[in-house]
Amino acid sequence: MSRILSESDSKELLVKYGIPFLPEVLISQADQAEAALVGTTGPYAVKLCGQNISHKSERGLVRLGINGVDAVKHACQELLDAARPEDGATGALVAPMAIGLREFIAGVSVDPIFGPTIVFGVGGVLAEAIADVTVRLAPIRRHDAMDMLGSLRSRSLLETFRGEPAVDLEALADLLCSLSDAAISIDGLESIDVNPVMIVNGAPVALDALVAFSSTGGES
């Protein structure tokens, strides 16, 4: 069996390699929500974060577009109540909503023949059906990162899109190179999912992350 890190632990590990995450607050009780929102504006995203939770959306553990302190509190309470014993230690992650039309998926997958690979593709709910994905062996050079972006069939998504500016390709390539650094530096790694990578005003922002270790290794 593999072992996974919670969303916030995954992010804490990956941010060291330069993956661009949004600022967010992890709270263990709903009444901490008000303090968490100080200095921010909504709408907010609230997610249940747990040591053993890997498929949040499927379980309805992601609430988006929440407005106002009371509604955030309420959402936090509901999510904390939805926690199951097998989820391990849980908390509610509160962050201002990132707004963007384009979602990508990036990650690391260990291929049984070729070893650690860097994966990048079109994300969102249709990701699997569209299956516009490109893969390279870790480590990648910067040339490979740029070539991955150019290899997408839907590469027009990287240009200006429905009123949104063109994607900062250098920043997106940075993200892939950061994943490559993580892939070769983290012992016992089994996989990394950074999903979605949303394009916010042209810049890639990682909204969720999941790190898994193989049974034989991993950080404790």
Binding site: I105, I113, T134, V135, E190, I192
Partner: protein, 493 residues
């Protein structure tokens, strides 16, 4: 350790022994000897036959010990698996350094066969002998006029090196070589790859002055990291075109990972190829197109393509194909447009694709081609519509009115014109050191067409369609980009 001497013994042997020559024309041991004797091999040829029976009118010896020491470098083994350890020992005792083992009954046949195969490899290592196979179809080496295989064809000579995990793909590629005239340097079916594999062959090709491009068919890959590393080193030296069958692995990936489920074997292999600078093809025809392009064309320095066509529709389809590649079909530079204005009637397209709109006269096409190919803002040129005149000529020549009514003269004129266009296009390519590609379905439909024949006679490749030419050119361009990604050329490159 396999050394250059072993490869020399395999591909350029001073003499060959067919072990297990047969009097039965249906047996491998007959066909192998037949093919070696029929394709011009200049070295000495020996054959063993237990009964010393005459085969193809030649005397045989009962076993290899009767062959004078040092006369042969290669043994082509058609004897049963159980006899082969003795064959190898005897071969080593008379100075033979390489064996191609066509015999079946090894790893492909189950556990017992696999054991025999492993024993054979240990024995070969002990004897300092290279063995290729077992269960392979043979090898071809045109610099030595050598056709040591149990299948056809024997291809024209050229610079494509073929290695395949399936012998039938060697034949497929060589059939296309024979049809197109773009030739082969070495070709080998590695069978079960017991001692040497695809990468050993590619590494030899990279160092072989007779080979300029590797063309391989790959099935199973066991050590992906080593495969990628060695392939990249080869790709630094020569282009490699890969056709791959089967899945690279069936191992399960992390259940929790979304990206893992998207990183299928096929996508991983495609990514590996791009990363290490190899070109992955999806069919036999595409693989040969690309290998032929690498073997016959200079590398494009950039993505800017000009399409010259005698008919509008072809140019439209070519433009569609370009849009799926990294090539560019830019507007024509103003000075080139002005030059062409002076050469063509006003109705020409004045754009790229350059549609001559039927305005070509005897001297127009050469003048246009020279202007376009030589222009500094054009990196590559695709020429469509060659062969049309001589195609009409063929109909006239085969019709009931020939040679009367002036037909003899006009048919000869058509043939001359098409030959001349092709020759001019390719001369412009050489002069400018830029790729010029010629595409026509006549390459398949009528290989004797004057334009197609002229392309062939200059050693070039006539692509069967505009799209196929464009995809091949894109592969050449992608290699240019890949090589450039390592920075300016240095001593290593």
């Amino acid at each position: 350790m396999i050394s250059p001497d072993h490869f020399r013994a395999l591909f350029d042997p001073r003499g060959i022994v067919v072990a297990g020559a047969s009097t039965h024309p249906g047996k491998f041991g007959f066909v192998a000897l037949h093919n070696i004797l029929s394709c011009g091999y200049k070295g000495e040829v020996f054959a063993t036959n237990r009964e010393r029976a005459e085969v193809l009118g030649r005397l045989t010896v009962a076993d290899l010990t009767e062959i004078p020491h040092g006369k042969a470098d290669l043994v082509f083994v058609c004897t049963p698996a159980t006899s082969n350890p003795e064959v190898l020992r005897q071969a080593a005792s008379v100075g033979i350094k390489a064996a191609f083992i066509a015999s079946a009954g090894y790893g492909e046949s189950g556990e017992a066969g696999l054991e025999l195969q492993m024993e054979l490899v240990s024995l070969a290592n002990e004897l300092d002998m290279m063995i290729v196979g077992p269960n392979g179809q043979g090898l071809v080496s045109t610099p030595s006029s050598l056709c040591a295989q149990i299948v056809a064809p024997y291809p024209p000579s050229g610079s494509i090196g073929i290695a395949s995990q399936s012998g039938n793909f060697v034949s497929s590629f060589m059939n296309l070589s024979r049809q197109s005239g773009v030739g082969i340097s070495r070709a080998i079916s590695i069978g079960n790859a017991a001692q040497v594999g695809i990468l050993d062959m590619l590494e030899y090709f990279a160092d072989d002055p007779k080979t300029s491009v590797g063309l391989v068919y790959v099935e199973g890959i066991t050590d992906g990291r080593e495969f990628a590393h060695r392939l990249e080193n080869v790709c630094r030296q020569i282009p490699v075109v890969i056709l791959k069958g089967g899945a690279s692995g069936l191992g399960a990936r992390a259940a929790a990972s979304h990206t893992g489920s998207l990183a299928t074997d096929d996508r991983v292999f495609t990514g590996v190829c791009r990363q290490v600078g190899a070109t992955r093809a999806s069919s036999v025809a595409e693989a040969f197109d690309i290998a032929a392009a690498f073997a016959t064309l200079p590398a494009p320095r950039g993505p800017r393509l000009a399409v010259v066509t005698t008919v509008g529709g072809w140019g439209v389809l070519a433009a569609d194909a370009v849009s799926t590649t990294n090539l560019k079909l830019d507007e024509l530079p103003a000075d080139l447009r002005n030059t062409l204005d002076g050469l063509l009637p006003p109705r020409w397209s004045r754009n790229n694709p350059i549609d001559l709109a039927g305005g070509e006269t005897k001297d127009t096409v050469p003048a246009v081609l020279n202007a376009v190919v030589g222009h500094e803002e054009i990196d590559a040129t695709l020429v469509l519509g060659m062969g049309i005149q001589s195609n009409q000529g063929r109909l006239e020549r085969e019709g009931p009115f020939y040679p009367d009514h002036g037909l003899e003269r006009i048919v000869a004129f058509h043939d001359r014109q098409d030959s001349r266009y092709a020759e001019v296009a390719l001369a412009a390519s050489v002069a400018a050191d830029k790729p010029v590609l010629i595409a026509s379905e006549l390459a398949i439909g009528d290989p004797n067409n004057a334009a197609v024949a002229a392309v062939r006679s200059t050693g070039h490749y006539c692509f069967a369609s505009a799209e196929r030419a464009i995809f091949a050119l894109n592969s050449l361009y992608e290699r240019t980009v890949w090589l450039d990604s390592f920075g300016p050329p240095n001593i290593e490159r």
